[in-house]
């Protein structure tokens, strides 16, 4: 009992601090769960000035994009998008590789096709590139 009397206040403060930290962690995980914003991200394919098609990022599919200038095969798989085949000369669109975050895009200039990921929540940026302080 004397031990409790001697250290009671300290133990209360420690318990309160640990509880506060735990609550903060819970709040954070709750706040950042729906913050993901990526679940509703969409893949927008445009040819020239027209929107060719809009597809959910998290539904796997292969889209054949046919334009008067040529043909591109856009593959959406596991949350990332890439151009798997193209009829253009330089194949820069294939070389761009996979994109997975909102705001990123793949462009095929010869075929005038562009593939970009757009987040539904209106946020173009997929987070910070870097923070300096």
């Amino acid at each position: 009992m004397t031990l409790l009397k001697q250290y009671g206040k300290d133990l209360t403060i420690i318990a309160a601090a640990i509880l506060a930290v735990l609550i903060l962690f819970v709040i954070r995980s709750a706040a950042y769960q729906d913050e993901g914003g990526k679940k509703d991200a969409k893949v927008v394919i445009t040819t020239g000035d027209e929107v060719y098609g809009t597809y959910p990022l998290y539904e796997d599919r292969v889209v054949e994009v046919k334009t008067p200038h040529g043909q591109n095969t856009v593959t959406i798989n596991g949350g990332s998008v890439w151009v798997s085949d193209a009829s253009c000369r330089d194949e820069i669109c294939i070389g761009t590789g996979k994109i997975r975050s909102p705001g990123k895009s793949i462009v095929c200039l010869p075929n005038r096709v562009s593939v970009s990921i757009v987040s539904e929540s209106g946020k173009e940026d997929g987070g910070y590139d870097t923070v300096a302080y």
Partner: protein, 173 residues
């Protein structure tokens, strides 16, 4: 707490300041960092804790301000001063309140200091950067302040009685 006239305290305060700066230097040298910005052991707080238990709160506050300014001049840049000064002063004030007003034991005093050091730095970062994403770090910062503060506090509570005995050898407290 040792009640000495200021002329007798000054050399020991100087030693504590040197100790604090040496610890800051060790902290810069050792890669104890966890990769998370802002999470570091805060070894220099050991000197402030010892000062708080050995001498008066005013001495501890003075030591804190000098330590923050000098360690920024020596190991960092002046833009860091705002962060380190705010964190150090707030944590020192909290520790003074915890040890003298609420009369907690040293490990818990240090834990409170650690938490409030990080909270103050978080507040300053929020004021300067205006980024909502910082809130992601808040739980990590508080947790790290808690753990490092507790460990340093236990260390200080082991050292300070011996130090007090050495300092007051042969005289009435």
């Amino acid at each position: 707490m040792i009640r000495w006239p200021i002329r007798k305290r000054v050399p020991y305060l100087g030693l504590l300041l040197a100790f604090a700066l040496a610890l800051s230097y060790i902290e810069v040298l050792l890669p104890i960092g966890t990769g998370i910005p802002g999470v570091k052991p805060g070894l220099a707080n050991l000197a402030v804790l010892l000062c708080l238990t050995l001498f008066s709160p005013v001495d501890a506050l003075l030591l804190t301000v000098l330590k923050a300014c000098l360690s920024c001049l020596l190991f960092g840049n002046m833009s860091m001063l705002l962060y380190s000064l705010s964190g150090a002063v707030i944590s020192c004030i909290v520790m003074i309140a915890a040890s003298r007003v609420i009369k907690l034991h040293l490990p818990v005093v240090s834990m409170c200091g650690g938490i409030f050091h990080n909270l103050a730095q978080f507040a300053v970062a929020l004021l300067i950067l205006h980024t909502k994403g910082l809130f992601y770090y808040l739980p990590v910062l508080t947790a790290s302040g808690l753990v490092t503060g507790l460990i340093l506090g236990i260390l200080a509570s082991l050292v300070s009685p011996k130090l007090k005995k050495i300092l007051t050898r042969g005289e009435e407290i």
